[in-house]
Symmetry: C2
């Protein structure tokens, strides 16, 4: 038996330990970053909003004109089996759809290249370590600007992270945990795998455009409604963002992460603010109650082994 | 013995047939497109401008703050050995430097992730088939705009091709061979792996910014000087480009490729123009004479097999 304890993967019809999951260097998924993906979390044996992630994944594939052979129902079954094979009860689960390569006679025709699915389940890893989340994440606004939607549509979740990675280098140099990038109009967009919110005078705001339509971001919007917090989806300038009472991030692999600093300025008492903390507490409370939860079908591992 | 006839590769210390060259799905080189690369051509047993490509590759790595273990001399030797193992006398040779993954404790810190080198030599494939080059490539200007340098620096050769691939889809729909993207100011930049030139009233022009500093582009500039053709490196508007007397592309895997149409408008007699053809002829004439050529050290294959 292979060792699946450090993670499991599926690539175009085959299951394998994560350590064996590799992409040919000639495939456009690597060589042109011609790939879209989604990430769903498994917490205490259950997926969070699995159907939302599957729907967004399909929408991303359609934006990128990718048609893998698997249907949504098949992808759902593959995701269950992959997590089941890993045996993980807390897992970061990625599903990618990538283009292979077109035939030699059509070297620049993406329509001639088939697409295929990769799914991987790995042990849960926080975007920020728990102690950093506790003290509040430290943010900064880098000089690099987010790739505009007129070049690459951020609603199709993609690996064009050159700007986000350059921003993370700037953040490291500034002693911050995360960079939050501006668009070319000077409005706040997003960071390396997370959406952002700010709170001013009790009103919660999140950017209206230039970002991924985050599933955890959507969950925050639902929580705001439930908790009676006014929510605004609109442009947020760098100035407003820097002067906000509170800031927090939302992401699958972190939930709601309050900030304690922005560009060196302390927010509140250099610690997470009350609205952020209330939303975070309610988020995990509801998660424990089974909010949007789909239990992993761990029996699927047997079906897979037999297949 | 493994079969190297379809190509050979080197990954971080090991040589292998190209079909076995793969990247772990967890590495940022794939997962964040955190990779830079260069491509050098081998024609009739000799590299073209190998040192120029090695120097640009190192400059790209430095821009992306990547420090692989190999020196430039070692990369040069690896490139020779990889081609020698393939036995190919006409080959497309790519060298990549990609980041692996940071340790679990630093999930968003690129500085904590090591970088490594991949080199591959595959059979030569034209960017456009010979018969298409003969009739002249058909170009179009798509709606998608080139990723701006303020987001991702195009001088660090990268796989952020989402815009170029979307442009190629638009080109296919329009019945064109290649898309040439504009920047957000409406000036011409580049296309999927090539630089562009236009000729108006005998004056040759190429974009001043927002593009890769192409090695074949540089060769064209040298030819212009030798042939006494006035050359201008400056902004070129979409309007000027569409109204040019001639247009041609430059790329490692195509040399100089004259165009015969732009956005449906025929250039000249729907065929390559005289200045473009003269440059192309002189380019291949000089190549045959050994211009900037470095013979492949095919004996290096033995050294590698013995190692």
């Amino acid at each position: 038996m292979s060792d699946y304890t450090k993670g499991a993967a599926y690539i175009d019809g085959s299951y394998m330990p994560l350590s064996e999951a590799k992409i040919p260097v000639t495939h456009w998924g690597y060589r042109r970053s011609d790939v879209t993906y989604d990430v769903v979390g498994v917490w205490d044996g259950a997926f969070f909003r699995l159907d939302d992630h599957l729907a967004r994944f399909r929408a991303s594939m359609e934006r990128m004109r990718m048609v893998p052979k698997e249907s949504d129902d098949e992808i759902r079954a593959i995701v269950h089996r992959t997590v089941a094979l890993s045996g993980l009860t807390r897992s970061y689960v990625a599903m990618d759809c990538l283009r292979a390569a077109p035939p030699p006679g059509a070297p620049r025709q993406p329509s001639q290249a088939p697409s295929y699915i990769m799914v991987m389940a790995m042990p849960w890893a926080w975007v920020a370590p728990p102690e950093v989340q506790e003290r509040g994440v430290r943010l900064m606004i880098p000089t690099v600007r987010r790739i505009p939607a007129t070049s690459v549509d951020p609603r199709g979740k993609n690996f064009h992270w050159g700007d986000l990675t350059a921003g993370q280098f700037e953040a490291e140099e500034a002693g911050a945990d995360f960079a939050v990038l501006l668009d070319h109009d000077g409005n706040v967009t997003e960071g390396a795998g997370f959406n952002v919110f700010c709170v001013t005078d009790g009103r919660v705001a999140t950017p209206a455009r230039g970002t991924l339509e985050g599933v955890t971001q959507k969950s925050v919007m639902e929580l705001c409604e439930e908790m009676g917090l006014p929510l605004e989806v609109r442009d947020i300038s760098a100035e407003e963002f820097r002067e906000a009472d509170e800031i927090f991030l939302s992401t699958t692999a972190g939930g709601i992460m309050p900030a304690s600093r922005i560009d060196g300025r302390m927010l509140g008492n250099d610690s997470p603010g009350p609205v952020s903390l209330a939303l975070k507490a309610r988020f995990w409370e509801k998660r424990a109650e089974g909010w949007h939860a789909t239990p992993v079908d761990y029996a699927a591992a047997e079906a897979s082994a037999a297949a």
